[in-house]
């Protein structure tokens, strides 16, 4: 091994990255674009559901019920309908997901029979949103009923003694139940998959395509020196992008960071070694930039997006798919990221995930190193 040759390789690689606008775009702009897209675009919280109301009773009580819908963050009244046609029209057009209709004689029934009904119409083409809306509506009506009951008891001088079991809930780690806090840490993994695998997948393949590889392998530079010289610049870039993403997550998106920064960078280094080796491996074996970059993205970006738990929770996946996620390095890294940002989990408790990453890194480095030969055959 010669430091001189490694430095020559590194310097050349850095100059080439610096002169290539596409690489610079991937390095500097892509992380920010991903942060914005996933940070703002992927919102799994169902809030401010568009609601249409139709008050056929038009009394104090009916207005009270509807006010309960108005005063929560879960619904947003987009339409006050005058007749059923109007209600159906809005649901058909998709301008509202749910319609609440207060029937005539609502207040009369409530007074005389002690019970009354409210109609809910739901657009269930998105079943998840529909059932969540239904849940919200039920909770709101329950709250209203309790209040009516309480009022009645007070008016009649009866002390409220009805047995009542309630939840004392406390959410941990993501106190405001913001899905943004859940998503944004995972973006670091996405960015690394692109920077690490995509950019490196081009570096060797480019040399084969342009014919410079033949010149390169006719010099005394060793294959390990080529590998180190080519990967170190991308490693540094990957670590810088990690810092950039983490900084934005905390500074801009106000995602808490409760773990150790040292552990974050150490684990990111491991994951980087994994994706860099994969990119290098494909670059060496495909020998064409297109083939290499597509294979690299297929085995890094796609599984990271779909199967790492980044967006879709792993424990909700079919058992077989859950099994598949076990061979994905990204799964362990995303889990570590969440733990570090939201939970501040101690390193010992993440030992399993870290060990898995380390094993992947070791195996893939070996694979990448063995795949490259200084020969034309």
């Amino acid at each position: 091994m010669s430091l001189r040759r490694i430095l020559a390789m590194m310097r050349k690689e850095v100059i080439q990255i610096w002169r290539d606008p596409r690489s610079l775009l991937v390095i500097f702009a892509m992380p920010l674009v991903q942060l914005v897209i996933y940070g703002y675009g992927v919102n799994l919280d169902i809030k401010r559901i568009p609601l249409c109301i139709y008050d056929r009773d038009a009394t104090q009580s009916s207005q009270d019920v509807l006010k309960h819908f108005q005063s929560t963050d879960y619904f947003r009244i987009v339409r006050v309908a005058d007749d059923y046609r109007d209600v159906i029209d809005h649901i058909d057009r998709g301008t509202c997901t749910m319609a609440v209709v207060v029937p005539p004689q609502f207040s009369e029934h409530l007074r005389s029979q002690g019970k009354a009904e409210v109609q809910a119409l739901l657009d269930a083409s998105d079943s998840n949103t529909a059932s969540v809306s239904m849940g919200y509506a039920l909770a709101i009506l329950q709250g209203y009923s309790q209040q009516v009951q309480l009022d009645w008891q007070q008016r009649n001088g009866i002390p409220p003694v009805a047995p009542n079991v309630t939840f004392q809930q406390r959410t941990w780690f993501n106190e405001d139940l913001e899905s943004m806090s859940n998503i944004v840490p995972g973006v670091v993994a996405m960015v690394m998959a692109v920077v690490g695998a995509f950019l490196t997948s081009l570096t060797i393949a480019r040399e084969w395509e342009r014919g410079t590889m033949e010149q390169l392998i006719a010099t005394p530079v060793r294959k390990l020196e080529i590998q180190i010289g080519k990967l170190v610049p991308y490693f540094v870039i990957g670590m810088a992008d990690t810092a950039l993403c983490a900084g934005f997550a905390v500074g801009w998106f106000h995602v808490p960071f409760r773990g150790s920064w040292t552990v974050l960078f150490a684990c990111s280094a491991l994951f980087l070694l994994v994706v860099l080796s994969l990119g290098y491996f494909f670059s060496v074996t495909a020998k064409s930039q297109l083939g290499a970059s597509q294979s690299a993205l297929l085995v890094t970006l796609l599984p990271t997006f779909l199967l790492s738990g980044f967006i879709f929770p792993i424990d909700q996946m079919p058992v077989i798919v859950q099994g598949i996620t076990r061979v994905l390095p990204a799964r362990y890294y995303v889990s570590i990221l969440r733990n570090l940002f939201l939970k501040g989990t101690a390193v010992q408790l993440m030992a399993g995930d870290i060990a898995a990453l380390a094993i992947f890194a070791g195996v893939l480095i070996l694979l990448a190193t063995r795949a490259f030969h200084k020969r034309l055959e």
Partner: protein
């Protein structure tokens, strides 16, 4: 000029790609300080030989030794002793001239104390002083070629391999390039060069003619022309060429004939005896005949005479 130790030794070297025999047990030696030419049509095995000698391909059997080192056993040791210029132009286009030079100086571990002098020498040699900071892609082909040569010899290797170094380069640049090579040789460097330009072969001290993986002849250009051409050669100017060639083949005195640029070459046993018959034969077929005279055979004529597949031999300026 020639030293007594061989720089390149090749013994029974064979290379197969699957069923295809690219090199069929070839033998030769190149001596220190000579321009050793490998001449032959495309696909003859020239590049394969060079690539084996640079350790880029493994021989199927046989032995190759460069600067006293066995290539198959110690490829990296050989690579420090050689400079290589591949067929395709292969410097980094997105690097500046000086960056390319520094890169190769680094890979060849050119001593830091010599670096400045060596870089200056390389720039002067390539004729690109003052354009150090130009991006390599902006250079004309001739300059790129000389820069590539400069990069390949920055570490002053005793042996230099050039694979068709002048293909696609204009005539002036080609001459400049050969002047560079001659200068290098005068400093004791062995230059091993492949070409399919017959005129360039005249620059070589010794030549190997190779065709379909076999060596068909070896020697100095003069030796090849005299030893392998026992018959006389006639240059025939005739219009039109195609029917002229057919006519020549039908004349009994003509042993062989081929198109050569804008004229025809005919091989005969005795030039003086055959001359009148040829002119008569062509004219009787209604062809317009210009000069018909005996000429010195060129290397291409030798090549045509030595190989059965005339069609595959490119013309002098192909």
């Amino acid at each position: 000029m020639m030293g007594n130790e061989p720089s390149v030794v090749v013994e029974n070297l064979t290379k197969r790609f699957g069923a295809f025999v690219a090199l069929d047990s070839i033998n030769f030696q190149a001596w220190r300080g000579e321009i050793f030419g490998f001449l032959g049509p495309n696909g003859a095995g020239k590049s394969t030989t060079i690539r084996i000698l640079c350790g880029l391909l493994r021989p199927t059997s046989g032995r190759a030794q460069v600067a006293g080192i066995d290539v198959a056993a110690k490829p990296e040791a050989v690579r420090q002793q050689i400079g290589y210029m591949s067929q395709k132009f292969s410097l980094y286009n997105d690097l500046e001239v000086i960056e390319n030079l520094r890169f190769f100086a680094g890979l060849y571990s050119v001593p830091t104390k010599d670096l400045r002098l060596r870089l200056a020498w390389a720039l002067r040699m390539a004729g690109i002083e003052g354009r150090e900071r130009a991006l390599t892609r902006t250079l004309a082909v001739g300059w790129k070629q000389r820069l590539a040569l400069a990069c390949a010899v920055l570490h002053r290797p005793p042996v230099v391999f050039l694979d068709e170094p002048t293909s696609g380069v204009d005539a002036v640049s080609r001459r400049q390039f050969w002047e560079l090579i001659q200068q290098m040789v005068s400093e004791g460097i062995t230059v091993f060069v492949t070409t399919h330009y017959m005129d360039e072969a005249e620059y070589c001290n010794r030549l190997v003619l190779i065709d379909r993986g076999r060596i068909v002849a070896m020697g100095t250009p003069t030796e090849l022309k005299t030893r392998h051409m026992k018959r006389d050669l006639l240059m025939v100017e005739c219009e039109p060429l195609g029917p002229g060639l057919e006519a020549l083949h039908e004349i009994p005195a003509v042993l062989d004939a081929a198109v050569f640029g804008s004229s025809l070459h005919a091989v005969v046993a005795n030039a003086q005896a055959a001359l009148p018959g040829i002119r008569r034969g062509l004219e009787s077929r209604g062809l317009k005949v210009g000069r018909v005279e005996q000429i010195q055979p060129s290397l291409e004529d030798v090549f045509v005479a030595l190989t059965a597949t005339r069609e595959s031999v490119p013309k002098g300026n192909a």
